[in-house]
Symmetry: C2
Subunit: 297 residues, 2 copies
Amino acid sequence: MLKDGRETGKWIRVMTAHRMNLHLVSDATGETLNSIARATVSQFEHAQIIYHRWSLIRTRFQLHRVLEGIEAEPGPVLSTLIEPGLRSELENFCSRIGIAVVHVLDPVLSLLQHHIGEQAIARPGRQYVLDADYFRRIDAMHFVLAHDDGQAQVGINEADLCLVGVSRSSKTPTSFYLANRGVKAANIPLVPGLPEPPGLEAPIVPVIGLTIDPEALIEIRRHRLKLIGGQPNVQQNTAYVDLESVKAELIWARRLCARKGWPVIDVTRRSIEETAATVLQLVEAWHERRRSLPPGG
Amino acid sequence: MLKDGRETGKWIRVMTAHRMNLHLVSDATGETLNSIARATVSQFEHAQIIYHRWSLIRTRFQLHRVLEGIEAEPGPVLSTLIEPGLRSELENFCSRIGIAVVHVLDPVLSLLQHHIGEQAIARPGRQYVLDADYFRRIDAMHFVLAHDDGQAQVGINEADLCLVGVSRSSKTPTSFYLANRGVKAANIPLVPGLPEPPGLEAPIVPVIGLTIDPEALIEIRRHRLKLIGGQPNVQQNTAYVDLESVKAELIWARRLCARKGWPVIDVTRRSIEETAATVLQLVEAWHERRRSLPPGG
């Protein structure tokens, strides 16, 4: 096979059939394009995408570096550029070298333009650092720093919600992600042997349990132990990553949540973003239930 | 005016001309739609959008609640639904009641389909919790928790980069955001009076300074003091939020960065995302410079 040029060529073609460059060109942070690329590429099982991320592209000079990059490693372009001059330069260049460009925001901009009855301003959007959203986010981040893993429990009632779960059940990553969205999540470990987590006797915020498959939990704990390095208490670490002990620990935690009436999310097959979205739905449901309670009841 | 029905009607029309419902319907977390909505709505100066976010919509039953919501508060729909049955039910319903639907991922899906030569699988995408990306993110989050504000400085060289700046210059929000992206940022305060931050004598990672307009910094510090409540040291707090002192502090910090050759980002008019994107560009430039150094030189 390898001696036959045609066959070899074919073999190479098959091996590389789904490999492609994808250029993401943004005048802002590139978050929108990252998100769109993740959502769409995951729909193709055999795609091997080499991402080229070009963010904060706001001048012709910056754009020229991008065009050089596209020419050097050709592949389709997703763009959120909004400034007409930059857009047309990108389009002209790409059409000259036979590269497809999709302006991902265009259908939505047309829709909004039609409904709002106003032209888009066609300037790269900027958020400002000191809006209410910014303060909400930094407050939530400082809250996580102060309250991670049950520290300073007095603050629970200042939180928007409280996450509970055994060690390494994703409480910290979930609260981090929520903080970035401006939501304050307190974070309290469920420790086997303690019948009830201190600080949660009469919570006035929604409490949500996180659980996970024992095998997955052990993998995360092993990773964590390796990272921390030292194993100060071998006996404890053994139970910490022993399948039977971990199973018992998880069952105990689920029962505790059931008894307290706290809903539980299984994070095993969820990304951090999905867990956070589910948390927010449960918080919303909690508030709806509260609103529908008879007054004083 | 108020007595004239026609005039009143007109007045109301003008007041509410740009107010509209916008429904964001997603089978996943809704991040992509949030991001697209933010990027596009910011292009309209007078739009007042009432967002209706419907995330994790994966069954007909869930979709029916969405359709009820759209009917109750009509407005255009942005969708990332990928499952053909749900999509067509949404489309049919909306076309019946005269509502526009934009499937925001479609142009990109077509582009990828064309280039990859493979059909999209048309199943809501799922990420799995235990991929390398997940571990990178949780490691980065634990790193931020352990190293925020100069704690445990011995770890700086395990970071991907180090942020320096005076108190409240956005080091923490930036490192939080970067951690969510799987990037470990150490975070060291520049404290006036100390000539050189300890731990930064010979850093082997890129060091990046953050600065901000004095007025904006004072606003952030005031907010923080209010939140913390107690003012244990009034004298210090005065300098902390006094315009002349803050100006001097910022000039001192900029000079220190200049002397050490650390690039500085002014975060005043940048969102957290923009600052983080600029940080990543500077880190990339630092590595490029390193690669281009003569060996041993």
